[in-house]
Amino acid sequence: MTTLELKRLPDGRLCLGGIDDGWQWALARVPELLAGDQPPAVRERLLPEPSNNTAINRDWRELIAPELQALWKANYELMAADLARLEKDPEQPDCTRIIFPENHAAAWISAINQARLTLGARWNVTEADMNRPLRKLGRDPREHDILLIHLLASVLQLFIEASL
């Protein structure tokens, strides 16, 4: 895979470039993973009950959880819309790039992180799994998705560095 690059253009927009077929696949998985119903393990990880107080937890389930779910949905839909605007990268042959407004960065960060956590919860990924060298990852679907968690971490890191 190529090295992704996230840079700020003179007009303030952000440009994610150097996207080869592998990266295109990894980025496209983000909104795919987040659309639709999630298994209980994912819901429990993303929306854990906040306390041991029954009233607080009830308000949480009725008011806050739906609000967060709507916000997260808007985030991954915005990322999906940006991904639909891939264009040829003039600086890197065989690669594409995406240019988007700076205020989309928060939505990308949210969606990428949510996709990583979703995969982690689906497969019950542990600290030990995450610390294994990438070359030791196997080829079954779980190992494949652990690799995707790492790939998306490198994209997320680009966005974190750009926003600090």
Binding site: L46, P50, I56, L68, I109, S110, N113, L117, V125, I160
Partner: protein, 102 residues
């Protein structure tokens, strides 16, 4: 909300006993728990953004989450604690709140 006053004999001043007062007044801790997926840089960035903590403090709290499994990142009134839990969960940090023990 009811506006009725409790019935008290004239000249009697109602006092709040020590048994009931602490439960109402005790502050709440906002607790962030470790998970194997969230990036350490991301967690520290969120603490800086949400609480306005300086980088050093944000990184110290992040390391506490990582090494001890949890960290109390803020303590105060219930309403504000609920607000912070909501914001931290919005960032996908595994966050709960618990009332400080008396």
């Amino acid at each position: 909300m009811s506006t009725a006053s409790p019935t008290l004999a004239p000249g009697v001043i109602e006092t709040v006993t020590d048994k009931t007062k602490p439960a109402l007044d005790r502050p709440w801790n906002v607790v962030v728990h470790n998970d194997p997926i969230n990036l350490m840089t991301f967690v520290a960035m969120v603490f800086q953004r949400v609480f306005g903590y300086p980088r050093q403090k944000a990184e110290r709290l992040m390391m506490e989450v990582h090494t001890r499994g949890r960290s109390i990142v803020w303590t105060g009134g219930r309403e504000q604690a609920e607000h912070y839990v909501r914001i931290l969960q919005q960032y996908h940090l595994w966050t709960t709140m618990e009332q400080v023990e008396s």
